[in-house]
Symmetry: C2
Subunit: 172 residues, 2 copies
DNA sequence: TTATTACGTCAGACTTGTTGACTTTCCAAC
DNA sequence: GTTGGAAAGTCAACAAGTCTGACGTAATAA
């Protein structure tokens, strides 16, 4: 199954970056980097007895205040039973508010409370700090490549969801 | 907490890529891409009643045949109790062989059996296929940036582990 | 001889995920 | 208005994978 692409290709440009060995390095880089990527928020969460699932919910509620449970389910890709448990604790502990939908009263629209927003800032600032350092070290061109490869890795549906996320206004 | 870096910097080059918004896009790209990244192996694993933990163990045993349990523990960053359960099933089902260490008989050296190696190939080929498509779509320069950013995201220790992984000889 | 290391194992817990079944609420179409 | 079906929520049961803590055994190192 070894790909024999590590020779001079027709176009003239090198395809050495497509060897199985290079691909494996990329796979390992993803594994290690993802672990590092979640490490900082995980520390904060553990201290408050929350988990990554809480972080993800908080992140996307912040990202699109008022989104419905179904929409959140869709983005997270989990079952409603699984999300429900997480969401319930967040609501009970006053981080998230669930309002009955205006146009459709069956729907629940989700909002962060001030307390929830405070935790969101704490978590995302920790995560951004690492990202910022990495971006700064690698430089703008590397960052563009990083984003390109990640996007090329997503399924069509995931990419659509990713692209559909609104720009957040810069907090003034 | 908003970073005011989105203005013309001293060096002359734009620092727009360091805005909080850009960082958040990167964070979300990591989240979605990682999910896609694990999706293909997950399907194969589910069918055989294994999980991601089995995949990770198999991956690194294949990567460095004969490595000890402690070394594997170190790479994976989990407790021995957690690894033990996974390892035990892999040994019981004949995917991994555990041999008593030659220089130190307390150690167990881990090897994939033929059956284990076959699963490893199946899993990693699925994962590589997605990676290969992404790499091909994004191009060599983007790939270089991708790797640069991921490496810059790792802690020092993780980066050391990542770099210590041997090159595997290309299967002839 | 003793202390330490490497490994395995047992027990108990927690988070996050799953299926399946059921109820409540509500909109919309008939 | 009644009814069908969608959206949301709930309950129960379970599994994977993680953790901590405690203990035992074998082998090496001091």
């Amino acid at each position: 199954m070894q790909n024999k692409v590590n020779v001079a290709p027709a176009g003239g440009e090198s395809l050495l970056f497509l060897t199985d060995d290079q691909l494996r390095r990329g796979i390992e880089a993803m594994f290690f980097a993802y672990r590092a990527f979640t490490a900082d928020p995980d520390l904060i969460l553990a201290e408050l007895d929350y988990g990554r699932a809480h972080h993800r919910a908080i992140h996307f509620i912040n990202r699109e205040p008022g989104l419905t449970v179904t929409a959140l389910l869709d983005v997270l890709g989990v079952t409603k039973q699984s999300l429900n448990r997480v969401l319930r604790t967040l609501i009970e502990e006053g981080l998230v508010e669930s309002r009955i939908g205006r146009r459709d009263r069956r729907e629940r629209q989700l909002y962060l409370t001030d307390k929830g927003a405070a935790l969101e800032r704490r978590l995302s600032e920790a995560q951004r700090a690492r990202m910022r350092a990495a971006y700064r070290a690698a430089g703008p061109q590397a960052v563009a490549g990083f984003r390109q490869v990640l996007e090329a890795m997503m399924d069509r549906d995931t990419l659509r969801q990713y692209r559909a996320l609104k720009e957040l206004p810069e907090t003034p």
